[in-house]
């Protein structure tokens, strides 16, 4: 059922890649399934063994054992061509890498338990490569692959977050004497340093080592060709890694005492693990990959492996399986270890679905362009274009170019610097919040981050404004600025609305607020925002004075330590009006005209709102501290919300007018007088359809139709009209000059009765006008 999800109609009709029917492959599929089940069994058993045997010893024994068997089967030294010295060095590197990867894998096994290891680590290369292609390239291969990738990620997240493993709590206390080598100790401390529990650290470790493994497999392909076949490489690799691990094992066994009572009882399980995990799986995979397609092999293998892992995890602690396992263990310890939980089951289901979707061959990865039709009438597509068009520039270069562009112009430079400052403040706040484990700081940091999105929008719009006009954006990108101002206005409206609603609920039920930490945070925010106001005040007709400017320099450096001094773990829980506010400066909106830049106005309003939000917080903190008026805080935010709302309305109104193509307000009079002047030009009978609108901050576009007498030179009229309208501010003009002959031609050309009627009517009106002017 699941693999049907990605198949399309074409493959159902046998037009796509033809798969070999299952019946011929039954043998191989059965073989594969059996191998996978055995492998799951082996992994479970090795988890048990790893509790007593040290991980390096364990891997050494595995490598050595499989090397012996493989040497017997493959005979890498007697057959094939001799191996040169350079190849031996390469082999050595290869072996070191493979040792590291298997160390990581088995270490993850000790952390997460066998089931989770199987789910995370045992993915086929095909699946992982498809996943990475979806995540990091644009041409992932259609929605089905995207779905598969999403399922995979959700499954990993499920394991990370929703998997309430009982062992997690036990491991969290982290007994120092538990691990017995420098390596494990180092890994443990590294994971503990990251601040995640061992189990989650294991998940992360396994995912990372999975990616490593896939990269390693891809990289070792060349070496395998050089050596002479994958099997020979595998045999030699096992041998060399055993040799590499040998000194370590000797040192280890010399320094630490073994926990193993009798090595002889471990021979059988070790043999089984070597056979199932190392040898059998390798050979069967190789056979199946040649007999079936790799994706299909991966699909069946993954399903079999995961299902058997689930079953085994369920029954491993069951008394029935006690005779199956070689190690007898005290029961009470096992029952709590890495048990099945809902999260694991869900993620296993998701992993199965994801691997089956991702490993299914993509049938519609390419997008063809229709070239034409063949003589038979079937459409012809061109698939080359897609590959050729992807000459995208590299990411660093793109960043460098856009940075250069940003810094070129004043507006975008201002926004960029302020954004950097804001982000720096936010991250200081966030890190300090994490450091002192203060939720109030963290949540305020998130608020600041959220506010930064408006700045990012403004920055992007300021950048886009300077792009060249294209076929689609024929007037240029200047209008983006206005649209971004409009969106920022809407953003502020939404913020005001939420603050309003929240403060109304708070007025009804004022919560108790811990004000310990509010002041330093809001003072810091205030100082940062004052810098912003300073930077952006030029966008505003309003003079905000140099007072803020002069105070910001020493103020900012001051805020750094004042902030870190004060915020010691107090929970500034839910302080209302989190930095959103607006002062009562009734700013005159851009009716003054001249360089009305909606984008900068929107950004400015945002910064202003933040600033006065912090002012509001400071004031309400003082009120609460001094007088204990708890209601001051919601009232303050109520006031702030209203102010934001009122201050945004002019911006929204202006942006709306521009977007609705109104005649620009500040040029209205000029335009009217210009139109009167146009009517008075000699030879002009009348004008119709005068459209003038502001396209962007510095472009007013216009179109007008003129009717002139038939004996006047059109170009002269056009020149005069253009000059007149240019004086009125219109700098992108099209003038259509019509004479009576035009209407005659048009009525001749037009097809329908209606059009002829309309044209003749227009002609009549023109005649009438001409008469009128003649009389005058």
């Amino acid at each position: 059922m699941e693999d049907k999800y990605s198949s399309n109609v074409l493959s159902g009709g046998k037009l796509g890649m033809v798969e070999v029917p299952n019946s011929r492959l039954t043998r191989y599929i059965v073989l594969l399934v059996v191998t996978k089940v055995l492998k799951a069994l082996g992994i479970f058993e090795s988890y048990d063994i790893l509790k007593v045997v040290h991980i390096v010893q364990f891997i050494f024994i595995l490598k050595l054992g499989s090397a012996v068997i493989l040497l017997f089967f493959q005979k890498p030294f007697s057959s094939g061509k001799a191996i040169s010295k350079r190849q031996w060095i390469k082999l050595l590197k290869h072996a070191v890498f493979s040792c590291i990867i298997s160390l990581l894998g088995f270490f993850g096994l000790t952390l997460c338990g066998p089931l989770r290891t199987l789910l995370l680590f045992e993915h086929s290369d095909v699946v992982v490569i498809a996943l990475l292609a979806v995540l990091f390239t644009s041409s992932g291969g259609g929605p089905s692959k995207t779905r598969g990738a999403a399922l995979f990620i959700i499954a990993v997240i499920c394991l990370l977050l929703f998997d309430n493993d009982d062992l997690m709590a036990k491991m969290a206390e982290h007994p120092e004497g538990h691990h017995d080598s420098a390596l494990t100790h180092f890994l443990y401390t590294a994971i503990a340093f990251l601040g995640v529990a061992d189990h989650k650290g294991g998940v992360v470790l396994l995912v990372a080592s999975l990616c490593l493994k896939v990269g390693f497999h891809t990289a070792s392909r060349k070496l395998s060709v050089e050596i002479g076949g994958a099997k020979r490489l595998y045999a030699l690799d096992n041998l060399v890694s055993a040799v590499v691990l040998l000194p370590w094992v000797i040192v280890l066994s010399a320094t630490t005492e073994s926990k193993v009572e009798s090595w002889s009882s471990l021979i059988l399980p070790f043999g089984m693990i070597i056979l199932s995990v190392m040898i059998l799986e390798f050979y069967v995979e190789a056979i199946c990959n040649t007999k079936m397609e790799t994706p299909r092999c991966a699909r069946y293998g993954a399903v079999a492996l995961f299902l058997s892992a689930l079953l085994l995890a369920n029954f491993w602690t069951h008394p029935l399986t006690d005779q199956l396992r070689s190690m007898s263990k005290p029961a009470q310890q096992l029952s709590t270890e890495h048990v099945l939980s809902g999260g694991v089951i869900v993620s296993a289901v998701f992993f199965i679905m994801a691997s089956s979707i991702l490993s299914s061959p993509s049938k519609k990865g390419q997008k063809g362009t229709l070239v034409g039709y063949s003589p038979e009438g079937t459409p012809l597509y061109n698939f080359m274009g897609d590959a050729l068009q992807h000459t995208s520039q590299s990411l660093p270069r793109f960043i460098k170019d856009s940075l250069k562009q940003i810094l070129e112009e004043y507006d975008s430079r201002q926004i960029f610097y302020f954004l950097c400052l804001n982000l720096a403040f936010t991250f200081v706040e966030l890190f300090y919040g994490v450091w002192t484990n203060s939720l109030g700081l963290i949540s305020d940091g998130f608020h600041m981050l959220f506010d930064c999105s408006a700045l990012v929008l403004g920055l992007f719009a300021a950048l886009m404004t300077r792009w060249k006009a294209t076929r689609i954006f024929s007037y240029g990108y200047g209008r983006v600025e206005i649209l971004s101002g409009f969106i920022n206005g809407l953003f502020l409206m939404v913020i005001a609305f939420f603050v309003f609603v929240e403060s109304v609920t708070r007025v009804l039920d004022p919560p108790n607020i811990n004000t310990d930490m509010l002041t330093p945070v809001s003072v810091g925010g205030l100082l940062v925002n004052l810098v912003g106001i300073c930077a952006f005040s030029h966008a505003h007709a309003h003079a905000h004075g140099g007072k803020g400017c002069s105070s910001n320099d020493h103020g900012h450096s001051h805020h750094g330590h004042s902030h870190s001094e004060h915020s010691h773990g107090g929970h500034g829980h839910s302080h209302g009006g989190h930095g959103h506010g607006h002062g009562g400066h009734g700013h005159s909106h851009g009716s003054g005209g001249g360089g009305m830049n909606a984008n900068m106005r929107g950004v400015f309003l945002h910064v202003l709102a933040d600033t006065l939000g912090s002012v509001g917080v400071i004031i309400s903190t003082i009120l609460i501290r001094q007088f204990g008026w708890l209601i001051a805080d919601p009232l303050c935010s109520l006031f702030i919300a209203t102010l934001i709302f009122l201050s945004v309305i002019p911006l929204l109104k202006d942006a709306c007018e521009v977007l609705l193509l109104r005649i620009p307000q500040e040029n209205e009079k000029d335009l009217n007088s210009a139109l009167e002047k146009i009517e008075k030009i000699e030879g002009v009978l009348s004008y119709r359809d005068p459209h003038f609108w502001r396209h962007s901050a510095n472009m007013i576009a216009g179109t007008i139709h003129l009717q002139i007498m038939s004996d006047v030179v059109e170009q002269r009229i056009i020149q005069q009209v253009t000059a007149i309208l240019k004086d009125a501010g219109v700098n992108n003009l099209s003038v259509q000059v019509e004479k009576e002959a035009y209407f005659q031609h048009m009525s001749g050309l037009s097809t329908g009765f209606q059009e002829v009627l309309a044209m003749t009517q227009q002609m009549e009106s023109m005649k009438y006008l001409k008469d009128g002017t003649c009389i005058m």
Binding site: K4, S7, L661, W693, H705, Q744
Partner: protein
């Protein structure tokens, strides 16, 4: 008092105007229904918000925002019915069609911002301990909201949103559902008529949101899994984003006055046709954009040969573009338009080119031609009955052209083209012209003209008396 007065007056008039417009809208019977649904929606939204705060469920809040979006869409619907009643005013010369687009854009952006808020809340609350979600009214709220949303969607004919949802590119939700249902149809072919057509994105997101809320409810009831609430809130917010984003991109592009990409092919074809018209040199500064949903407006500058007939070319260009572009302005542009009269007088002379003329007519004509040129455009008195000769004297002496063109124009004006159709209209016309011209024209003069005429003409006027022509040019300007 004097300063207060106008302010109060405008303030009053804003409300008065609103009231008047509202009355205008409500005069239509159909808008009553919208208002009724709006009232129901408000009621429902209020209930849902109450339940949201009582269940403390973020997912239900995210779903409630969809109900609020329905309210916005109803308002958009009212606006669109108001727009149809309004005529273009003097200030808003393109009419109010754009208000519809703006309303669609604003409502989609607002919903996306709401979803952003949900995401932010989740981000902020993630480090906090999970809030307890009470599942009490969750299911009831879900079904009430779903019912009302679907009722509103299906019973109110929402013209602007229907248009946008059809015209915008499909969202990722739609794409995934289409992909899934296509493979499902591979299993059960009978479902193809139900599943294969493009899904309505609003219905889709309502269903998907309700589904995820149901799952949330089940998991909370069964396992007391409160983290699911967060997950499903994020999922609903992401789905809202996915659904609304293409629509806001589409309407935003309309607002940005861009050429809609689906008409570019058609436009290119028309512009190619235009540039092959007789006399047209190039088409430039072409701007085409949509006024409201659907109706195109545009302007273009057409550069024509100096001797082509401006009105004729204008008529042809307009005729080509008008079926596609309803509000069209074409500016005809000529290089060095001060000279056509000169060349006209020159070409009407029997031997126009200096090397040809044995009489030595080359230098004098400039002086002899100047007086009419000066007098004619400046006074713009109808000294000459009409000006076809200069326009059509491209290859031959003026007399010939007069013979040919005038009947053609007359022929044209009486409209035998009425039945010929659009595409056929121009080409025979141009062909006939050139034929008519070519037949009487002497082959020798033609070849001379093409060989020498073009380069020598500008040279002569550029070198002999540039100052004179400059000064004349200045004089024309008022």
């Amino acid at each position: 008092q004097g300063t207060i007065h106008p302010f109060r007056k405008t303030h009053k008039s804003v409300f008065g105007k609103l009231k008047q417009e509202f009355r205008l809208v409500t005069s239509d019977r159909r808008s009553w229904r919208i208002l009724l649904f709006g009232a129901l929606n408000l009621l429902c939204t209020g209930c849902l918000l109450m339940w949201c705060s009582s269940t403390n469920s973020m997912a239900l809040t995210a779903y409630t925002y969809l109900t609020i979006f329905d309210l916005f869409s109803l308002i958009t619907c009212l606006i669109s019915s108001w727009v149809t009643m309004k005529k273009p005013s003097q200030l808003y010369s393109f009419g109010f069609d754009r208000l519809e687009v703006l309303a669609v854009f604003a409502s989609t952006v607002l919903v996306q911002l709401g979803a952003l808020f949900i995401l932010k809340e989740r981000c902020v609350c993630l480090p906090l301990t999970h809030t307890q979600t009470h599942s009490g009214r969750l299911l009831v709220g879900t079904f009430v909201a779903l019912f009302f949303n679907l009722l509103t969607l299906l019973s109110v004919r929402n013209k602007p949103f229907t248009y946008v949802s059809e015209a915008a590119s499909s969202s990722w939700l739609q794409e995934h559902v289409a992909d899934l249902s296509r493979s499902l149809c591979g299993v059960i072919p009978g479902l193809s008529s139900v599943l294969l057509p493009r899904m309505n994105p609003f219905v889709l997101i309502n269903m998907a949101g309700a589904l995820s809320l149901c799952i949330t409810y089940m998991l909370i009831e069964i396992n007391n899994y409160n983290a699911v609430d967060t997950a499903s809130a994020v999922a609903i917010a992401l789905m809202t984003f996915g659904t609304m984003y293409p629509m806001s991109v589409y309407s935003g592009k309309v607002l940005l006055q861009t050429t809609p990409s689906h008409v570019i092919g058609q436009l290119d074809k028309l512009l190619r046709e235009v540039s092959t018209l007789e006399g047209v040199l190039e088409v430039r500064n072409e701007h085409f954009w949509t006024v409201g949903f659907g109706s195109l407006a545009g302007s273009a500058h057409v550069r024509i040969r100096r001797d082509a007939n401006e009105q004729l070319v204008l008529a042809h260009v307009t005729n080509r573009l008008l079926p596609l572009v309803s509000t069209l302005t074409v500016q005809i542009f000529k290089d060095d338009w001060t000279r056509p009269l000169l060349s006209g007088t020159l070409s009407s002379s029997p031997s126009p080119v200096p090397p040809l003329g044995p009489e030595g007519y080359a230098i004098p004509p400039s002086s002899s031609a100047l007086p009419p040129l000066l007098s004619d455009p400046l006074t713009s008195t109808p000294s000459k009955p009409s000006s076809p000769p200069p326009e059509f004297a491209f290859d031959t002496p003026g007399r010939n052209v007069q013979q040919v063109v005038l009947p053609a124009a007359g022929h044209h004006a009486h409209g035998p083209y009425g039945g010929l159709g659009l595409a056929y209209g121009a080409s025979p016309y141009a062909g006939m012209l050139s034929q008519g011209v070519a037949r009487p024209g002497m082959p020798s003069s033609q070849s001379y003209r093409t060989a020498f005429g073009a380069p020598t003409l500008p040279l002569r006027f550029g070198t002999s008396n540039p100052l004179a022509s400059q000064s004349q040019y200045r004089q024309y300007q008022p």
